[in-house]
Amino acid sequence: MSAETPFEPQRFTLTRADLVRYAGASGDFNPIHWSDRVAGAVGLPGVIAHGMLTLGLVGSAIAAWTGDAEVVELGAKFTAPVVVPDDDGGVVVEVAATKVSSDNGLMTIAMEVRCGDAKVLGMPKATVRA
């Protein structure tokens, strides 16, 4: 990550408790997000974070960077799982801005979202009213 943008990478820690909290808040109780047994049965390396939780963290990074600017567009592909171990430390998701451009009162922010070495979102991008 060597891109020049005005924004510092934002880091978020996710533990199993955070997945349970998000399940309750979002209403998404798919057991792959809380049961090792079910996650293993469908071929996952372990319990994984909700893709929409990761995208929620991206929204949070955008708010932190832009001073809560109005979000006009936000989206990403869910390309790789964020595996969350059953321990006290959890994992860190890092949201880094790679390209920022402004046009016509709108600011577009392209990002890279990683968990460890893995890019976990495809083409994460947001547009805010600048």
Partner: protein
Amino acid sequence: MDPAIVDRTFAPVGPYVVSAAKVAEFATATQWRGAGVPPTFPILLLNDAMLAFLADVGASLERIVHGEQRFAYQRPIVVGDELTATLRVASLRALGGADVIGTVSTITDASGQVVCEAKATLVHSGATEEGAA
């Protein structure tokens, strides 16, 4: 999956009243570092719209993977909004034994104005639909 689902619009979900308490709960859960309503908040309605769609076409949640999600806002959501989500299937293609379903959900407020358009790609695995519960 039956190609006839393309361009079909499914029954609206809602109205969902946006409360300060639910927004606060969702904000905590997404480690929100702003004020106002997080931009991914409408996933609450979109989940319901997706479940209703899957039940309607006889597909099972266990075989669905969320491939992509995009939000395009006309205005921010605020506490007190009464939101309704209407899901339409925009595209369907086969990919290695799976169906890739492109959906567009339109979220409107109490006056019928569009607040947000949400596009989701859902990947439905498995060659037969008969086994789906």
